[in-house]
């Protein structure tokens, strides 16, 4: 048993790691994809071009405007004699802040410190962000200028936990990590088994005096190992590239990764028993992966989905893994969240491995 398993592990690792394409798929692609997804999927808006227009000597307005630039979200637009609308129409500015006639201080003294903010709403996400940022900055400025006496028109009571900077990479990167580990293990396992069947080498394996379980373990354990290695790589990349911390203990991360990888390798095995060749295995893998990724809560909160989809999302192993990753990496590993999600994932691993074993046995002959 041990000798056979070791032979399988050696063979699969050599085959996988010798192939340049596989090496890229395993180690290059996750890092590149993590970087691209982490940056491109960012919901945080930065580099908003803001122009400010005021009369001469409006010191208070100047201080408010500086507040915008100091926030880091806005970039100063230098302009000549263009009208405010022209700045936006030409795309030189995403927003224009205009001081009231006669100066901000004087109009505020009249009880109407109203500034005008022009926002380019062709990009709705950006526009919403500008509005939200502006409210924050202006109410902060009002507090600064008038102290407690100020009565801001709008009250903000947002407390941002765990990600005080509201950096979306913190939130997204663990999700993308889960997605990558899931993708690689499913595709790799399904392809490897389909390849052996397609090429014919599988005949040699089944002609050896091995039990069904030995054959199945031999073809899956190496990929569980590779999957866990990949999970470690992705966590390291997330830390090094995006500074996503691992606040919880590593054993939690290891357990969660192991449970996910066992589930996905089993799903990959299951797919390979249905697929007749490598192309079908690949397609089958993606047929599982796309809905799994969409329902996992990586990009869209599960809570916002319609009821039937939520029900389906509870069958998505990736959803549990993403929750686990966010819990362990960002929150420091709340034990209740850990055990409920890990329990669900472990149950799925058990069911998936059992189904794969049953199906695998049926297709051996």
């Amino acid at each position: 048993m041990k000798r056979t398993l070791l032979a399988f592990i050696r063979k699969e690792l050599i085959q996988t790691l010798r192939d340049v394409r596989m090496r890229v798929l395993l180690f290059g692609a996750p890092v590149i994809q993590l970087t691209i997804f982490g940056l491109a999927l960012s919901t945080e808006i930065k580099n908003i071009n803001l122009a400010v227009i005021s009369g001469p000597g409006d010191a208070m307005f100047g201080r408010v405007a500086e507040g915008f630039y100091a926030s880091g979200w806005f970039k100063r637009v230098i302009y000549g004699s263009e009208a405010p609308f022209e700045l936006i129409a030409s795309g030189r500015a995403d927003a224009v802040l205009i001081a009231p006639a006669g100066g901000l201080a004087r109009s505020a003294a009249r009880g109407d410190g109203r500034m005008q903010l022009l926002v380019d709403a062709t990009n709705l996400t950006k526009a919403r962000a500008v509005e939200a940022y502006a409210r924050n900055i202006i109410s902060a400025a009002a507090a600064r200028e008038y102290g407690a006496r100020a009565e801001p028109a709008l009250k903000f009571d947002v407390r941002v936990l765990y990600n005080p900077a509201m950096e979306s990479s913190m939130f997204l990167v663990p999700g993308v990590m889960g997605m990558l580990v899931c993708l690689i293990t499913i595709i790799l396992t399904a392809m490897s088994l389909a390849r052996e069947r397609e090429v014919g080498t599988f005949e040699t394996i089944v002609s050896a005096p091995l039990s069904d379980a030995e054959v199945l373990l031999g073809k899956t354990v190496p990929y569980v190992l590779l999957g866990v290695m990949d999970a470690a790589l992705v966590v390291a990349a997330g830390y090094l590239i995006f500074g996503v911390p691992v606040r919880g203990p590593l054993w939690q991360l290891a357990l969660a990764s192991l449970a996910l990888v066992i589930t996905t390798v089993s799903i990959g095995t299951f797919i390979s028993t249905i697929a007749r060749n490598q192309q079908q295995a690949m397609l089958g893998g993606f047929m599982f992966l796309f809905p799994a990724i969409l329902m996992s809560g990586i990009m869209y909160p599960v809570e916002n989905m319609p009821g039937a989809i939520i029900a389906a999302a509870y069958l998505d192993p990736l959803m549990y893994f993403v929750r686990l990753l966010r819990n362990i990496m960002l929150k420091g590993g709340d034990l209740h969240v850990l055990w409920t999600n890990l329990g669900a994932l472990a149950l799925m691993a058990l069911v998936a491995a059992g189904a794969a074993y049953k199906r695998f046995k049926q297709t051996l002959n």
Binding site: M1, R3, T4, L6, A7, F8, R10, K11, I14, Q15, R18, D19, V199, G200, T201, E203, T204, I205, V206, S207, A208, P209, L210, S211, N365
Partner: protein, 308 residues
């Protein structure tokens, strides 16, 4: 040498749903014999071999392979036989050494034993390239010889080879058959399937299969004698129009078989008298020569004749 047959098959059948792939097949193979299966694609050769290797469980009938049955799901049989499937059985992306190490691991061989066997087998097949050679870079004939070595690493007494030489150059095919003879010379039993008539001629006995049934069994000579008890003539029309004569010949009494072979025709008759009578009207420019029937003639008569 002990007298018990290496293989004893009794009324073996296997069905896949409604399809009977192997239908009531019985035969025995002696120790040290080269036993060939000849038949078209889908005749049931591979399925029979896969059952006898313990890969498939028969629907009915019984078989003793090296004295062992299917009672344990084929595990016992798998231990004592070697099997080389018709697809390529080595990993192209691994080296020779890695392939053999994996084969040894699959069979749980002790490293020392595997190493000893590797040396013996390399000597047998005359392999002298480094262990670190990538299999993908070896010529086709050597690959097949290595695949045979991998299938024999555990020193099996009975070796099943399913179309071992398909897609291999003629010179390498001849080499491979030399290897098969050397293996049986060591007292091992080899069961082989083939499409090639010249290979079938080299078998001790041949089982001819058609649509799952065994339709003839015997040595090449026996098969020829039983299929063609009378004489066989090769007709060469040398440019004359064969059609009128051939259509008359088809109706001749005592004609057993008439088949085109390129520009020539082979005609087999029940006896010499029938032949003389039928060939009397041969056009003057044409020539008839007495020939020995080949296995190909046997195959055409027994397999394709049955389909007409």
């Amino acid at each position: 040498m002990n007298a018990a047959p290496a293989l004893e098959v009794k009324r073996l059948s296997i069905k896949f749903g409604d399809f009977t792939a192997v239908d009531d097949v019985s035969f025995a193979v002696n120790q040290g014999e080269i036993f060939g299966f000849l038949g078209a694609n889908g005749a049931g050769k591979t399925t029979t071999i896969r059952m006898l290797c313990g890969l498939l469980t028969p629907t009915s009938g019984s078989a003793l392979v090296g004295g062992l049955g299917f009672g344990d799901g084929g595990l016992g049989i798998k231990k004592i036989v070697g099997y080389m499937s018709q697809k390529f059985t080595l990993y192209n992306d691994l080296t020779v050494g890695e392939n053999l190490d994996f084969a040894a691991g699959l069979r749980k061989l002790a490293p020392a034993f595997a190493k000893k066997r590797r040396h013996e087998l390399f000597e047998l097949i005359g392999f002298n390239k480094p262990l670190s050679s990538k299999v993908s870079q070896l010529p086709g004939g050597i690959k097949q010889e290595l695949a045979l070595a991998a299938a024999m690493l555990h020193d099996p007494e009975i070796i099943f080879l399913d179309e071992p030489t398909s897609g291999v150059a003629p010179a390498s095919r001849a080499r491979f058959w030399g290897l098969i003879r050397r293996i049986t010379g060591l007292g091992k039993t080899v069961i082989v399937t083939t499409h090639y008539m010249d290979e079938a001629e080299q078998c001790g006995r041949i089982a001819l299969m058609r649509t799952g049934r065994l339709i003839a069994l015997g040595s090449p000579e026996e098969l020829k004698r039983s299929a063609f008890p009378g004489p066989m003539a090769e007709l060469d029309f040398k440019g004359a129009e064969p059609k009128p004569f051939i259509s008359a010949l088809e109706k001749a009494a005592g004609l057993l078989e008439l088949s085109p072979h390129g520009m020539r025709w082979h005609a087999a008759f029940a006896d010499k008298a029938a032949m003389d009578a039928a060939l009397a009207g041969l056009p003057p420019s044409a020539a008839a020569a007495l020939i020995q029937p080949s296995l190909e003639d046997v195959f055409i008569r027994l397999v394709e004749g049955a389909e007409r």
